[in-house]
Structures are given as structure tokens and as C-alpha cells.
Symmetry: C3
Subunit: 279 residues, 3 copies
């Protein structure tokens, strides 16, 4: 089996920061396959990184290692961790950047006011504390290169997470905005992410919709869209559909919905059942 390490950062690709991490990893494990997920996470946007990663990681072979470096607190006392799930391993700062991953599994305990989640069954984590796997000199401003990359590379050689430090039982998890359902069945959510096509991806999952999907109205930026389409090519103008990651999204046929509507991430979206007129 050829081990795969993916990379998700807010480093961009103009500078050589990503390349330095890759050089370090290939020095430790020359056979590792390195695959970029995204380096265009907005600077310090931990939650965006978490979301983007969550839309891709399950399409990689089991036991792929996902290296995530969006790390505004680099060099401070924030922990560095390895998270092992039934499907994959994650190497990342413990700053919430794994929120969407951790939330896919039932927590042992979670308080809405706490920023920590006690890991439930199936999840294991360790704090990265043993410096023998790091680069000999660690810059306080670039743990991606000096700590996370070498740890991911050593992990890809088959070492156990426990070799890298002490077990931890909880991880930082940021509050993720979940849609609310009103008594009349209406769903209130937000725009979670705007992709490079300008598609508005909401936090409302397809499973939450009524079975007869044509019987809903999606409202975003005061523009009602009646019924859900199956593809981007149906009808005219704005359309709503369940996208490839399972979330309801709003799209403009052959255009950019974000530019048309002038909306932004965090803006409200509402899905209401329609009064069936006959049928």
C-alpha cells in the first residue's frame, strides 16, 4: 500500500511554504504520495478549512493521512494533535480545525458552552509532544514545516499515534451553525461556503428536506426559488439543488449566484414547505 498524505493550509501557492513542508516529508518518506486538498483557505479561517476538508477526505482510500495547517496560534500553548478515526488519520493543531470531522461521530459528552468535545467511541487522539520526530530546530512561526510535516511523514511510515505523545480524551471543537426547524416545518440555515463557481452551499442537508422535494421554496437574499432541481442545467436563472456533498445549495445556471445575489458566507437561508396547489 502506498501511503497518501493530503495537505490543507491557508498558505497559498505563491510562496514556498507548502513546498518546504513537502520537501521535509519526502526526506523522511520518499514513497509517500502527497495530494493537495486546498491551500486557498482564507488566512486563519479554521472553520473553512474544516469544512473544505470534510467534503473531500472520505473520497480518499482508508488510512489516508490528512495534514491540516491553519494555525494562527502557532508557537503558543495550543496543542498539536493526531486524531485517528475509523477511516483516516488527521495531523493538525488542536484549534477547532477538525470540528467537522469530530462532529461526524457521536461525542461522549458535549456542553454547548464548552469549546472542547470529549471524544466518543471510534475516535482516538494524542497530543504531539515527543520532539524526536520533529525537525531538530523548530521555528516558533512554522510548525507546519518543523512539527506537523515530519510527524505526518513518520506516521505514514507506519508508526502508531501513541509513539508521538500522550493520549488525550477531548479535542477543541468550534460551534458549527446548525439549521433550525420551526414548528411549521420551515428550516432556517445559513450560507456555509461559497465555492469558486459562486454556488451558495448552505448548512441544510438534503436528508432534512421533505421527500417530495419539489414542494419547497428556498429563500436566499429575498429571492424565492420554487422547488429543487436535480442538476445545474435545469430551468432558467437561479436554482436550488442538493449538491455533491449532500448540502442544499443555490446556483445560477451558467452563471455565478454569489455575484448575482451579492450575498456572503453566514447570510441566512430559509426553506419552507409549499402549500400543494392540487397535485
Amino acid at each position: 500500500m502506498i501511503p497518501i498524505i493530503t495537505l490543507t493550509t491557508d498558505f497559498g501557492t505563491s510562496d514556498a511554504y507548502v513546498a518546504a513542508m513537502k520537501g521535509v516529508m519526502l526526506g523522511i518518506h520518499p514513497e509517500a504520495r502527497l495530494v493537495d486538498i486546498s491551500h486557498s483557505i482564507k488566512p486563519q479561517n479554521v472553520l473553512q478549512a474544516s469544512f473544505v476538508l470534510s467534503t473531500a477526505y472520505q473520497f480518499f482510500p482508508p488510512r489516508t493521512i490528512h495534514l491540516v495547517v491553519v494555525d494562527p496560534g502557532v508557537g503558543t500553548e495550543r496543542r498539536a494533535v493526531i486524531l485517528r478515526t475509523p477511516l483516516a488519520d488527521f495531523v493538525a493543531p488542536d484549534n477547532g480545525v477538525l470540528s467537522y470531522i469530530v462532529r461526524e461521530y457521536p461525542a461522549r459528552e458535549e456542553s454547548p458552552n464548552s469549546s472542547e468535545t470529549k471524544l466518543g467511541p471510534g475516535l482516538e487522539a494524542v497530543a504531539i509532544t515527543r520532539p524526536e520526530f520533529w525537525r531538530p530546530e523548530v521555528s516558533p512561526t512554522f510548525h507546519g514545516r518543523d512539527v506537523f510535516a515530519p510527524v505526518a511523514a513518520h506516521l505514514s511510515l507506519g508508526r502508531a499515534p501513541a509513539d508521538f505523545g500522550e493520549k488525550v480524551t477531548s479535542l477543541a471543537v468550534l460551534p458549527v451553525s446548525l439549521p433550525l426547524r420551526a414548528p411549521d416545518g420551515a428550516l432556517s440555515g445559513i450560507i456555509l461556503h461559497i465555492d469558486s463557481f459562486g454556488n451558495l452551499i448552505t448548512n441544510i442537508r438534503g436528508e432534512m428536506l421533505p421527500e417530495k422535494r419539489r414542494n419547497v421554496t428556498v429563500e436566499i437574499g429575498d429571492r424565492p426559488i420554487n422547488g429543487l432541481s436535480r442538476t445545474y442545467a435545469e430551468g432558467y436563472g437561479l436554482l436550488a439543488l442538493v449538491g455533491s456533498s449532500g448540502y442544499v445549495e443555490v446556483s445560477l445556471k451558467e452563471g455565478n449566484a454569489s455575484a448575482l445575489l451579492g450575498v456572503k458566507e453566514g447570510d441566512r437561508v430559509k426553506i419552507t414547505p409549499r402549500t400543494p396547489v392540487g397535485e
Copy 2:
């Protein structure tokens, strides 16, 4: 032989769409080499994708597989196809995204009004119809991940195109603007592509020029350029030359011709023979 799969899409690299396709392919064929051609095709610009691909594919080793996903009609009845040429294989929607490739070979039959071209000798194509090579669940909005990527990966394992579906004898080909030659020898063409340097790549090929290349005037945006240069470093200001893909292009020495001239793709260009003054 290590099989190579290239990727050309309009997905950008901010989101994880490209990574999801790569994850799927590495799950099926862990040894495949994945090489990005471009993910910055303008959204839905099938013809630009075709052109960009046509400038690179022949530099890859024989039998490289080129995966092209610019697919505004995803999920509709547009076909998905594999095209096999003497040099390479292409996996793509049948929406014209292979126009520049197909046009390199003589067609069996072509009507100027038809959007389909009957494939001539040397070209074989199949419609991708057998779902056993797809991901078990196919999103109607992301065949790149659920159909094209797994098909390309299985193809790279050595399967024959015929394993993936029925043979087809014609493919969608979009009208490609060809230059016209006037009775006086003048050539009228258009700007086909503006590259990231701001070079204006026209649809006039170097082979169409008179042998004495100094004896032409290139006019673009009302600015005449006398004679053709050999390199980007000659003379001052605007220059014209035959670029590395064989097309006449206009460039600004140490600058951006596109920004200077304010022209855009599709704008007219004219090349006229000059009255030789002595020589």
C-alpha cells in the same frame, strides 16, 4: 510503465473538488501518476478547456490518459465518452470539450451546420454507460468524482475502452474559428486565448505565413506591428512572433500586451503582406 492521468477542469483549486477526484482515482489505482494541466478554465468554458489541453497533451508520454471535466450539462442526457487517439486517451463529457483534439484528425464527414463530427480513421470512441465502473452512488451534480475519475482510473489499469460502454461513431465538436485568407494574401483571424503573461495567442498558425516572415504586418487593436520577432526579448514594445504552440501571438516586451491594448478573446487580428521596399 507508470500510467499518467492528467486533469483539466474549471473547478479552481480553492475547493476540494479536484482533491475528491484524485482521492477516488488513487483508491482504484494507487500507482497512477496524477498531473494537473489546469483547473483555472473559466467556468463552463468548454472551448477554452479544449484549447488549453491541445497545447499540452502531445508533450506527455504516449497513452497518457487525459481527464477533462468542464461539464455544465452534468446530470443531463449529454453523453460521457472515452476517445482513443493514436497518441492518448481522453475521458470527458461529449460536449465539445474535445473539439481541438478531434480536429487534429481528418473527419470522416463533417457538416458545417452540425455540432457532431463523424470520427475518421485512427479515432475510436465509446459512450460511458456501464455503471459497474462508477462510484456506487452517483451525484447528479458531480460526475467528475463519481463517473469520470473512476473510469479514468480503471482505464489506467489497462482495461479496453470497449469495457466501459458502446462504441460511438461521432462526437460533439464545437465550431472553431478558423482564419480567412483574402485574395491579396491577407489573413483575418481572432484572439483565441490570452495567457497569464498577457500574450495574445491568435488562431493563425505559423505555417500559414509567407516564408519571409519579416514581410508581414500584424494588426491587433489598431496597432500595427511590422515583421515577426523570433523571441520575446527583441526590439521594444509590442512584438509578434510564432509562439511555442505554433500560433502567431502578440506580446509586449517585459510587459502585458493584453493590459496595454485592452483587447479580449475573440477580438480581430489581421496579418497583411508588406510591400517589400527594396530588400
Copy 3:
């Protein structure tokens, strides 16, 4: 050992220029590992390419081959060279794009007015002159694809630099702005590079600072910053620190220092010792 070839260019990633080079290299050496350093060097900015490369190359395994194609003089009489250092090999035009690399080693001889540096001990270079390693047809506008890429690939197969051409004893080196130290200990430098976070990386190296780093004031764009931080997460607002490549840089906590200050590359920076008030 799996040979690695890195790529640094000003080609961008929208067009297929980088992919064409990769295709050529994989045709010659299918096992070579290709790693992008940056393709977002500003067009023709030889010195930026040199700087960006210098911040990454030492993190790659020994004997990595670094292909650098920022080449405004392509097709002219400027030389193409291979530089072999104790750590790595470089394949590049001889136009100063290796300035930061060559300057890491003592020169045999250097005149401040000359644009050439006689290579000192430890460095070897050859001019790439033997066309049997190039592509059969060489475009005068794309040596990256037709000369540099095939030479790098053949070099990665184990050939000696001397196989590619005649030894040369000096290379083009551009003047690099070095900081000045005034009699009172104040350091005057410039902004060398602005990274994608908006961090302002100066040409003043951490080693030049007094040991008590808190006792300095960093002035950039008329905004004094007192004392040096250790991480990006300390204090409020603007901060100065020694970054991961060893240079003093100015950063805005959770923001973009470049946007806030409106400064640009080449702008002045000053670091002065502070009068210790007690301590």
C-alpha cells in the same frame, strides 16, 4: 533513491505551460517525483524567484534537482546552466535567477559593479550546450519545455553535469540589497518580499540583531514596533519577529500588515536599539 525535481516558474497555473514541462520530464524519467515550489513568481521577476527558491530548497532531500524557469531572455544568447552545490542541483537560465543560492557560498572573486560572480569552492557549473539532451525541435520562446525540462529529467537519471556542456567558472548574480549598520547600531534595510498573508519580510536577518531582542524598535512605514515577538499570536496589532526563513518580518495579528500599512517590496525598514529604561 527516488529523484525529486522541483519547479519554480512565472508561468501561472491557468495555462498548460507547466504541464507541458512535466509531460516532457515524465516521458524521459517516469519515476521522477515532481514538486511545485511556485508558479506565481511575478512575470520576469528573476530576483523574486531566486528569493522564493532560497527559502525552500534546503528543506528537500540532498541532491534534489531544482528547475527554475523565469526567463525573459529565452531564445537570446543568455546561457542556460546547471549549478551543482554541495546540497542540490539547479537547472536554470544564467540570468541571476540563482543569485540567492550562489550568495550562500563564498565567491572566489566579486566586483560590486560586475553582474558576474566567480564561483568559489564547493560550486560547479556547466553551460547547457549539448542539444542531444534537448527536445528535437526547440521553440525559441519555450526553453522551459524544450531545453530545461529534458535536461533536468536526464540529470535526474544520474548523468553528470559535465555531460550537458562545458564547465563555466562564473555565473550571473544580481545585486541583492543588503542591510546597512550605522555607527549607533541602527540597521537600515528594505522589504524583500510580501507573502500571501501580507507579512513583510525584510532583508535583515535575525543573526544581526542584538541578543536582547526586546531592546529594539522596528520602523516600517513610519509605524514603530517596540520589541520583537516570538510568535504571530502575541500582543495586539502590528508585531515584528524573526520568521521561519531567518529574516525579520512585520506582521499584523490576525490581519494583513501589507494592506494595513500600504507598503510595497523595496520600501525601507529600520531597526534601532532602544535606550533601556532601567531593566
